[in-house]
Symmetry: C2
Subunit: 130 residues, 2 copies
């Protein structure tokens, strides 16, 4: 693992942006952040773990919602300052219940929603979004 | 444009991460940063403009290499803190001459290069990488 960790250019806060992409369809699902421990845990367990900046702790994707991401492959970019996670997303990636987070498109000078929720937030989180 | 700009949560440095994805194949090409002016210029011209943190100025993708990105659609994520750019990449996205920047994969505890350059850096930049 050292070769992988050494190649990652974590920022001043010890974080690196991580893009999650559905491995077979190519959908870009979401972007979040990882620290060193999140990378290590993800590679060790095969399930994606991020670092939540708002909660200031490791965030095992799906821990509240059940919508886990199984890691297929972790890739690094040329400068080592971005991670690409090829994953198999269970259910939906977005906390709004949509398959991916990028459901707003700039069209005709405004923003248009181009995807509907597949499940309700109540179904995902009970009544707490955590 | 105001609705789009107002929905973007620029960070403390006035920047937002932007993922470039080839619109038809789904390849994730690269990740870079945009400021407000870069978003405006990209939407106005239909060619992707980033903000270069190292050069501290607008970076019109392809200005040195000719490898431009035509914008197909700009999308925003649920929190407004990441931009997804669907683009048509002319030639290669990576300064190393590879099609995309994510050519290193974590396999068997190490890093493996999974793509070769399609063009030389000399061909892209003359003898200067800028």
């Amino acid at each position: 693992m050292d070769q992988v960790l050494d190649a990652i250019a974590f920022d001043a806060n010890g974080l690196v942006p991580a893009i999650a992409q559905q491995h077979d369809t190519g959908e870009v699902l979401m972007m979040a952040w990882m620290n060193r421990d999140a990378v290590l845990e993800t590679l060790a367990t095969g399930h994606v773990c991020y670092f939540s900046r708002s909660r200031n702790r490791l965030w095992r994707k799906g821990e509240s919602s059940g919508q886990q991401q199984r890691l297929v492959e972790l890739r690094l970019d040329c400068d080592g300052d971005t991670v690409l996670l090829l994953v198999d997303q269970l259910g939906v990636a977005c906390h709004t219940g949509r398959r991916d987070c990028f459901f707003r498109a700039a069209r005709d000078g405004g923003l248009v929603e181009i995807a509907d929720p597949l499940v309700s937030q109540d179904a995902l989180y009970g009544h707490v979004h955590g």
